[in-house]
Subunit: 146 residues, 3 copies
Amino acid sequence: MTGLGLEDRCAIQETIGRYAHTFDSGDAEGFVAVFTDDGIFEVVLVDQPDQRAVFQGSDELREFAQSRMATVGHVLHHVSGIVFDDTTADRPRTRATLIATRQHRDGPALVTHGTYVDDWRRTDAGWRIGHRLYLALGYANTHQQT
Amino acid sequence: MTGLGLEDRCAIQETIGRYAHTFDSGDAEGFVAVFTDDGIFEVVLVDQPDQRAVFQGSDELREFAQSRMATVGHVLHHVSGIVFDDTTADRPRTRATLIATRQHRDGPALVTHGTYVDDWRRTDAGWRIGHRLYLALGYANTHQQT
Amino acid sequence: MTGLGLEDRCAIQETIGRYAHTFDSGDAEGFVAVFTDDGIFEVVLVDQPDQRAVFQGSDELREFAQSRMATVGHVLHHVSGIVFDDTTADRPRTRATLIATRQHRDGPALVTHGTYVDDWRRTDAGWRIGHRLYLALGYANTHQQT
């Protein structure tokens, strides 16, 4: 391992967890705080790269989170397999794998699955996401849910 | 990061993994040993908080594990997104996200999904769970399986 | 925690993540590089131990990866619950839990779930898998997919 210390790696892993828990518990402000002030959340469908959505900056991220939380109901983000593709001290990049689940009438169901590619920024308030790219393998019912 | 060192954090993460592996491999004694002697495992359905089950102390936890392992068949607990909500040196609290799967005749199926909120105790035998709250988003077929 | 330092543990966890990302992104050479040159990937169905496949050495592993990637389409490996069952300094053993998902026409679907038991080797190129045993709980449609 090079560049980035264990403390930093663990803090970044924990922030990836915070993204999931803030969204899943309906905490829009906590969700926004995972990103830098000008942070970007970009969603791309792997097989249809023209299917793309981009949310940039705290206002758009908050609006995205609030509207999505209101419509999608209870979901859970399960993120695993965090690896550091770039361990540059101040701008590392990670990849991780997502399954999101939702509760249907007859039980839990898969909503989407894909890969997060995250560019990190070290800030005075700790590690934040400068850019998260979600490479979605697909969604249930072709109805997009992030 | 404050309060709790990396060694402690890793040991706690590993114990969360041990909960899954002991249950999934039918190791009831190993499962009991993840908790303190007076440890509590509490299950609540998010949308029906009156649907609640509580198992307290090694005897009840063992009985729960043995009877559940006998009836539920092969399951797997997939736990991700571990975050430390409280890093008090001796009584930290974590949250994590669960998917449990089971093998049906035609393939793997989701059993339940939800969030674990764990209160930890530092003991002479290492970190143990003093209280695990499972906030279940739901179960397959409304048939409760933890 | 004993034996194995935190740096080593994190490097091993990251290599478990690399197995998933190399396979899922179609990087057969990266997949082969997760194993030692004589590394073994063994697959066993829990309830049918005679259902067994073994791939040994870089050539067989490459062939396995290339043929599987070509036929299985887009899959994602979600690995969680990494625990160290043996922390011998140079030959540790880990266990972890897998869900693999695939994109079907109507959305994400579970492909297989099971447990990885990994024997590790410290090499000049970092930690590599000497032997990975995949204890599969089952596959979708009884059609084997690793």
